[in-house]
Amino acid sequence: MSADAEQRGRNRPIRCLIAKVGLDGHDRGAHVIARAFRDAGFEVVYSGLHRAPDEIVQAAVQEDVDVLGISILSGAHNSLVPKVVDGLKRHGAFADTLLIVGGIIPEEDRPELRDLGVAAIFGPGTPMEETIEFVRENAPRRE
């Protein structure tokens, strides 16, 4: 078991799912994030466009990601995010997944998303380093 002790999970990369949910067809932002995360040394699973909340939950559970980043530009966050949160809870995956949202989220909608369990919301123009730093500091460390 000494081989096991050597590894100890310290060097394991942070695993993220970058998901595009709903109907909007713009994934340039998601692509940019995915590449920046990769360059930061993260393992990024990219969902592709037009994912239903259930599909995102499926991907997050199966890929066992530390971080789920949802990109929403369509304005449908108030209906989509709760569905994702419910799905994660159903699979017992909500507690140790860092949930962040990127995109255009009006200020008045943010408190509700935070109450749901969204750890951070990154609007347009957020410096990439800020997002990366946030993930580094807040990604759950689990054995």
Partner: protein, 383 residues
């Protein structure tokens, strides 16, 4: 992190829970087990050992081919076809990681459109993480987990770019190699030794110009592969070990004589439209049936277990010896002593390995109760 001293009992309890939950069909547990396996985390060996008795029923299909050949799309349609007939499916998609940051973008999931939302397709992306050596071990362990979970079919998808990928895909029972029409792939394939590992060849994008020619070329090359195989008794079941050397290995792979019966098939598909997928499933099924009826499947499984044992022992030894090197001041310090003329690499290597050799010799002596002079010379100098 707290709990750095995770006690064996904690790990035991955790593994108890995980194994029970996995066998009970909890997706979360399966996902977590694969993570532990992938991270080579503490206790992962015990996990795999416990799952091993529950595995062995799944048909494991490897899909490989050059980048852009359409592997992910084909795997998607293949998974959908298996689902249509009621089989549950596991997919392990292996992607290379960036050599610069160690990070990676795992995009194979994008293509899994046909089975999206269907939890009975368990799709897992794996990154090579820059340590290719351990990747085939991690992949086979992940397959064991999916198999134990109860998946009827497990598909392993990987870019057929190098030896390590070839190693991965060879752990499958049945190997499908994707070829693009008119792409110059033929040369590439020969280089990578991939022609030898295919049981079924898939000319994907068969609606493109040149498909017919590629099929013809493949048929011809496969024919040559049979003729050119030394003793002529060179079926797939005997392909083993190191790619290009497969002829030599085939000769000593006993119990696989019946292997001559399998003629690799060439199938045409258009993965984007689903055309030809039924033919592909038929071909893969036919190979699986052949493995069962000929006994070659058993022989291959035994050979795989042997390779796995070797790989594990080699890996463990390497870790032990790396630790020993560190205890002796690290390889850099030792190399510096060689550079300064103080010693030479052979003397250093002997000094590092000697205690281990003595220990193993001593054990053998103990167990045989026939003392020899093995322990008489504890000095570093050997002749």
């Amino acid at each position: 992190m707290a709990g750095d001293d995770t006690s064996g009992r904690d790990l035991d309890a955790r593994n108890d829970d995980l194994v029970a939950a996995l066998l009970a069909g909890e997706h979360r547990a399966l996902a977590r087990v694969i993570t532990l396996i992938e991270n080579r985390a503490p206790g992962h060996r015990d996990l795999v050992a416990r799952l091993h008795p529950h595995a062995g029923d799944a048909a494991v299909v490897g899909i490989t081919g050059s980048p852009g050949a359409g592997k992910s799309t084909l795997v998607d349609k293949l998974a959908a076809a298996y689902r249509d007939r009621g089989d549950t499916v596991g997919v392990v998609a292996v992607d290379p990681s960036s050599p610069y940051s160690g990070g990676s973008v795992l995009g194979d999931r994008i293509r899994m459109a046909s089975t999206n939302g269907d939890m009975d397709v368990f799709f897992r992306s794996m990154s090579a993480r820059g340590r290719l050596g351990g990747l085939s071990t991690a992949t086979t362990d992940a397959i064991t987990a999916l198999d134990a979970f109860g998946k009827d079919v497990v598909i392993v998808e990987t870019v057929g770019a190098g030896q390590s990928e070839v190693d991965i895909v060879r752990t499958a029972d049945t190997v499908g190699v994707l070829v693009q029409p008119d792409s110059g792939d033929d040369v590439q394939m020969l280089k990578a030794g991939i022609l030898e590992i295919g049981d079924v060849f898939v000319v994907n994008k068969a609606d493109l110009d040149g498909a017919a020619r590629t099929v013809a070329e493949l048929e011809e090359m496969l024919h040559r592969r049979d003729v050119g195989a030394g003793a002529g008794k060179h079926g797939h079941g005997s392909v083993s070990q190191s790619g290009g050397e497969s002829h030599a290995d085939g000769a000593r792979s006993d119990g696989a004589d019946a292997a001559t019966d399998w003629e690799p098939r060439v199938v045409e598909t258009v993965a984007t439209s689903g055309e030809g997928i039924e033919d592909l499933v038929d071909a893969l099924d036919a190979h699986a049936a052949y493995l069962r009826s000929s006994g070659v499947g058993e022989a291959k499984a035994q050979q795989r277990h042997g390779e796995k044992i070797r790989r594990l022992v080699r890996g463990d030894l390497t870790e032990l010896l790396e630790a020993e090197l560190d205890r002796r001041g690290g390889v850099d310090a030792l190399a510096d002593r060689v550079r300064s003329g103080e010693t030479d690499p052979y003397t250093v290597a002997d000094a590092v390995v000697e205690p281990l050799r003595e220990c193993l010799d001593g054990q053998r002596v103990d167990s045989e109760r026939t003392p020899t002079a093995a322990e008489s010379d504890p000095g570093d100098d050997r002749d």
